[in-house]
């Protein structure tokens, strides 16, 4: 009896989570000039409109470049930091790791204001460099968390075995350590990319009129327009997420059944 009840609750929860996504995807194919569910007629017009809108295309390009650059930097910095945290006895190590992970803990708006003040001092506001710096700061903790998790599972005697067999630190790192923690690095990178691509609060504060990322454009677009173009963009993002994100999530972040 309780089992059936739990199943029902589960199902309702799933429906509650999935419903908005289903609605968004459905409305993006609807032909009416405002999001309508269920759609009465099917069309790809809103996808064309998204693609033919130079502002949105430019925003997509900027977001992709910004997220890719930040993810690249965050992955390198994050991987090296987690190696330092897990492997070496650094004095004050526990504080160090708390500080490194603090961007996750602070409210985004607080961080946004702090970065605005700090970046104005050094002239990094309204610049691509500034956005990369801010995003890297925001997403590195996620890389650190995930790489640390895979490093903690890593048997250090494997590195000793490699040295014992005559490998110097570079060979040991590239042939043994790196391949074995690669799943963690990959998961961290995907997670970081998504966090960066999605980021609105900090970006809104630091970006000038020239640097409108996709989330900012979407945010502005819905303020004066209500056609399903936004639904079409969302559908594209969901599709990309399904292809790249879900498999990585399922593989590395799911609850482990032993």
């Amino acid at each position: 009896m309780i089992r059936i009840l739990l199943r029902c609750i589960n199902l309702l929860l799933l429906l509650y989570l999935m419903a908005p996504i289903i609605v968004v995807v459905a409305t993006s194919f609807g032909s009416s000039a405002y999001p309508l569910f269920p759609p009465n007629d099917l069309t790809l017009a809103w996808f064309r409109k998204f693609w033919e809108n130079p502002e949105l295309r430019e925003a997509l390009r900027l977001s992709a470049t910004l997220s890719a650059t930040s993810t690249f930097l965050a992955t390198i910095i994050g991987t090296l930091s987690s190696l330092a945290i897990v492997r070496y006895r650094v004095p004050g190590k526990s504080y160090f790791s708390v500080i490194l992970l603090s961007p996750i803990l602070f409210p985004a708006i607080v961080l946004a204001l702090a970065l605005l003040v700090a970046f104005q001092r050094v002239g990094l506001t309204q610049s691509f460099k500034g956005l990369v710096a801010a995003h890297t700061l925001l997403i590195t903790p996620f890389v650190i968390r995930l790489v640390m998790a895979s490093l903690e599972d890593f048997d250090p005697s494997l590195e000793e075995a490699a040295q014992n067999l005559g490998a110097g630190w570079w060979r040991t790192f590239t042939r043994i350590t790196l391949p074995l923690i690669r799943p963690g690095i990959l998961a961290g990178a995907v997670f970081a990319f998504i966090m960066s691509f999605d980021e609105l609060v900090v970006t809104l504060m630091l970006a000038g009129p020239e640097l409108q990322t996709l989330p900012i454009r979407i945010f502005n677009y819905v303020q004066y327009s209500s056609d399903p173009t936004i639904s079409a963009i969302s559908t594209c993002l969901i599709a990309v997420w399904l292809v790249i994100g879900i498999p990585v999530y399922a593989k590395f972040l799911s609850v482990r059944h032993s």
Binding site: L158, E160, L165, G166, T172, R175
Partner: protein, 352 residues
């Protein structure tokens, strides 16, 4: 000229001493066991030889070379790890080739050596398997093949048999010894299992809290343990403290409890100390046998092929007796009155 020499090695971590006053000379081709309980410094010593731990002071020489400060990857010393430490993302072949590549061995030579060592350990058909597809014993052999492929100057083993089941452990003992003789390499083997050390080693180094307690052949260690610690560690469990006294023209060892034990010729001028007797050297005898000690069985334990009894003597001393299970010898039960006796020659006198 010894092949491996450890001179006055000392290793401290902060104020705690892991190893000190460690002097050892190992001959070429010799098989040495470092034996001791956990925390005695045996693994630290092995790791110093391998180059993972730098001694605080002292000197380690292999052949004519002082390797004390040489990094681990520059020493040609093969180490077989307790958990084997096979690279999980590489096949058996890639595991063995890893070290050969690091040493820039040519590809023809590499193929030959991989084939040779896999033949040696009897795993030639497993070359494309991954470690997870092998049993514990097979992983052990791959770990051995991986270091042998490099033709090491020295072979080190860090409790390599402790993860195997009892039967396989005995089999691998012989296998390791056979391979070591075949290749003719000098070996140092760390273990906490006295039986393993006895069965495998040419010489045993018994360690006690970071210091060498005794060095000797298995027979020397077995017959003449130098201290109570060594005696206890190699399975002697009966100790009687007391001193030699002379009475009415005869000399006996009188324990603190009042128990008197016969002594052999030549032992009579050693004064106070400890008498030790192995549990398997004690026999149950008929009542009335000269010199037999009377007591009762306090506890009886099955040990497989043998029975272990705790006998409470009239004097209050407890004696452990091990008896082989044989046909027509009944198992004794708790509360039985018994008489025990051992040969005077089986008594070991310890000064401490």
């Amino acid at each position: 000229m010894a092949y491996l020499t450890l001179k006055n090695i000392r290793k401290t971590y902060g104020s705690s001493v892991a190893v000190e006053n460690f002097d050892l000379a190992v001959e070429a081709g010799e098989f040495i066991a470092l034996l001791g309980p956990s925390g005695c410094g045996k693994t630290t010593t092995l790791r110093m030889i391998a180059g993972f731990v730098t001694p605080t002071s002292g000197e380690i020489c292999i052949g004519d070379t002082d390797v004390t400060r040489l990094p681990a990857h520059r020493r040609n010393v093969g180490l077989v790890f307790q958990n084997y430490a096979l690279f999980p993302h590489m096949t058996v072949r890639a595991n063995i080739e890893f070290g050969l590549k690091a040493h820039h061995v040519s590809s023809g030579e590499m193929r030959a050596r991989v084939g040779f060592v896999l033949e040696l350990v009897g795993l030639a058909t497993y070359v494309d398997r991954y470690p997870r597809e092998l049993s514990g014993g097979q992983q052990q052999r791959v770990a051995l093949a991986r270091v042998l492929a490099l033709k090491p100057d020295l072979l080190l083993f860090d409790e390599p048999l402790s993860n195997l089941d009892a039967k396989l452990r005995v089999q691998m003992r012989q296998e390791i010894r056979r391979l070591q003789r075949e290749v003719g390499v000098t070996a140092v083997f760390v273990t906490h299992d006295q039986e393993e050390a006895m069965a495998m080693a040419d010489r045993i180094v018994v360690l006690e809290r970071g210091r060498i307690a005794q060095v000797g052949t298995p027979a020397e260690i077995y017959d003449r343990p130098s201290s109570r610690f060594v005696a206890n560690f190699i399975g002697i469990s009966n100790f009687f403290e007391g001193s030699i006294v002379s009475e009415e023209g005869r000399r006996v060892f009188r324990c603190k409890s009042g128990l008197e034990i016969e002594i052999v010729q030549g032992m009579d001028d050693i004064g106070a100390g400890t008498m030790a007797v192995r549990p398997e050297k004690i026999e149950f005898v008929e009542a009335g046998t000269p010199h037999a000690l009377a007591g009762t069985i306090q506890q009886a334990t099955q040990l497989g092929a043998t029975m272990e009894y705790v006998v409470l003597l009239k004097s209050g001393d407890r004696v452990i007796v091990q008896e082989q299970k044989r046909p027509r010898v009944a198992i004794r039960h708790e509360g039985h009155a018994v008489h025990i006796l051992w040969q005077v020659a089986d008594t070991i006198f310890l000064l401490s």
